[in-house]
């Protein structure tokens, strides 16, 4: 029965926390294997992607408000961390700061755009994103289009970045689980299902959407900040560009929107595609994503997680059938 399959919450299954913790432990122990610098880099970028993807999903998945504009927050986070570090702040203080800046920005974006619904909201976020990119391209204080360099007077230690990325991704997943199980998360689900019916049940859709937007923006900004420190150089095209916003949206769509693990899987898949395929076949980039999204929409709107669930149901049914006495 499909109703029974929907997660009954961790409280009902205390063992459900084990696999994620084991996964976290394995990833934390992975560097012991002396992976090459390039593998560590791919994993680091994947963690950053996952954090942004999981963040986006809180608004786009849980609340069903599809935004193409998350490059705004990723970029703001990247620039906040970059400027913060250059001004002498401890890098680890710049990440919450990036989150706070983005959360504030999310209010500015959300206050007018959440008056719009469905496709109109999505279209408005494209406009906001492009406008921000143009502003940043012309902002002299951060070097405009030619970009901004971070200078740190400590040696570069790749593993420190690896663990920062891993912790951020874990934090994002943890937060997403907490949101999902909370009263707030129930309200977001109600809004996603039917905003008017939600309001008729006492949910304040505007306030809850603003809240989801702020949490999602903060996580995405922290991801941008962690990325910026690693890259040590950022420019508006890279962190504020429209493809960045589309990328953040694609990950949860690939993995399975509106689930806990879909955005994690999608972030992983995306990280690998970006690093392996795009590096080798740069011209195939957009074509690849275009085809992927079309396949998902046509055959499995639930993404990878949807596909897994369907396969599991199929296998269970086959097994049941084969148990029948002939």
């Amino acid at each position: 029965m499909s109703a029974a399959e929907r997660s009954p919450g961790l409280a009902a299954r205390p063992l459900a926390v084990l696999p994620p913790l084991i996964l976290l432990g394995l990833l934390a122990a992975l560097p012991l294997l002396n992976l090459g610098a390039n593998s560590v880099k791919v994993l680091f970028l994947t963690f950053v992607s996952i954090a942004a993807s999981v963040g986006w999903n809180i608004l786009g998945g849980f609340a069903g408000q599809v935004s193409f504009g998350f490059a705004v927050f990723y970029g703001l986070g990247a620039y906040t961390t970059a400027v913060g570090i250059n001004e002498g702040l401890n890098p680890y203080l710049t990440y919450p700061l990036a989150g706070a800046v983005a959360a504030l920005a999310s209010l500015l974006v959300g206050l007018p755009t959440f008056r719009l619904r469905g496709p109109y909201f999505a279209i408005a976020t494209i406009g906001v994103s492009e406008a921000t990119r143009v502003v940043m391209t012309n902002l002299e204080f951060t070097g405009g289009a030619s970009g901004y360099r971070i200078t740190e007077h400590v040696p570069f230690r790749q593993l420190e970045h690896y663990f920062t990325g891993l912790m951020l991704a874990a934090l994002a997943v943890g937060l997403s689980i907490i949101v999902r199980r909370s009263r707030f998360g129930l309200g977001l689900r109600a809004i996603r299902d039917d905003q008017d019916a939600a309001a008729d049940s006492g949910v304040n859709p505007y306030a809850l959407k603003l809240g989801a937007h702020a949490i999602a923006a903060a996580l995405t900004a922290a991801a941008g900040g962690v990325y910026a420190r690693y890259a040590a150089f950022i420019d508006p095209e890279g962190v504020f560009g429209f493809p960045r916003g589309v990328g953040i949206l694609l990950m949860p769509v690939i993995g399975g929107v509106n689930t806990i693990w879909g955005p994690v899987i999608g972030g992983g898949v995306y990280g690998v595609i970006e690093e392996e395929l795009v590096a080798r076949f740069p011209q195939l980039h957009l074509l690849l994503y275009g085809v992927l999204v079309m396949l998902i929409i046509l055959f499995e709107p639930g993404g990878v997680v949807g596909l897994l669930q369907r396969t599991r149901r199929f296998v269970l049914r086959r097994r049941e059938a084969s148990w029948q006495p002939s």
Binding site: S2, A3, D194, D196, A197, A198, A199, D200, S201, G202
Partner: protein
């Protein structure tokens, strides 16, 4: 006793057509009031405006003496006004239990420490769908969806319940059980305005009846009088030859 709800000169125009035209009435606490009228009379529109889903063109709504004229729907719910929809609007991705939980946790009494599981069960038992608690809302039959709609609305703990044709499309037997349910809800202290086309249902359940026709209030009074009111008969059956 002061009125729980007063509606004063309420008018709603949809590009020329007056769905409601200077409608005024008062509802006293504890009553079940029937709201009847032919198709298109403006009953659902009236509910939408009281619940805050639509703004009126003009007129005034007072709830417990306070101005609720252009109140936001969720604020109306928090104050204790809740409506069922003529066409049920369940949360389709949720189970029956979760549907009810939304109303409990966001309604008039969203308080923290409480036994949610028990409260949901009580409401589901009251409307008679406790056995479906873990079913996905998408899988429910029309009759069960009507009950779920009522359960969702009751979960917000309304003081004034606006019931829009909860019995339409149900069998006689199902209708009797819903009517019994409304009487029980009223006995528990909830005031009800009840829209219904079936006059027998209205007569057997309501203390007071308001009749709408073409957006105008045609008459109001005790059900027995309304049944014999010539204007009401005319609106329903057409002018006798």
């Amino acid at each position: 006793m002061a009125a729980l709800l007063s509606v004063e000169g309420l008018t709603k125009r949809f590009s020329g057509l007056a769905a409601l035209d200077q409608v005024s009435f008062e509802i006293r606490e504890g009553e079940i009031v029937g709201l009847i009228g032919p198709n298109g009379a403006g009953k659902t529109t009236l509910f939408s405006i009281i619940a805050g889903s639509q703004p009126p063109t003009s007129g005034k709504i007072l709830f417990e003496g306070r101005d609720f004229t252009r109140v936001k729907p969720f604020r109306a719910v928090h104050a204790g006004i809740a409506r069922t929809h003529q066409i049920p609007q369940p949360f389709l991705s949720m189970t029956v239990r979760e549907n009810v939980e939304v109303g409990l946790r966001f309604g008039r009494d969203p308080g923290g420490a409480r036994n949610l599981v028990k409260e949901v069960t009580e409401i589901l038992e009251l409307v008679g769908i406790a056995s479906l608690e873990n079913m996905a809302a998408v899988t429910l039959s029309v009759g069960d969806l009507k009950r779920l709609e009522l359960a969702r609305t009751l979960a917000t703990r309304p003081r004034l319940l606006l019931c829009d044709e909860v019995c339409a499309g149900l069998t006689e037997c199902e209708m009797q059980s819903i009517l019994g349910l409304l009487r029980r809800i009223q006995a528990l202290g909830t005031t009800i305005i009840y829209v219904e086309h079936n006059l027998r249902a209205i007569l057997s359940t309501c203390h007071h009846v308001i009749v709408l026709n073409f957006g105008k209030k045609l008459a109001e009074g005790p059900p027995e009088t309304m049944q014999n009111d010539p204007a009401v008969i005319e609106a329903y059956i057409g002018k006798k030859a």
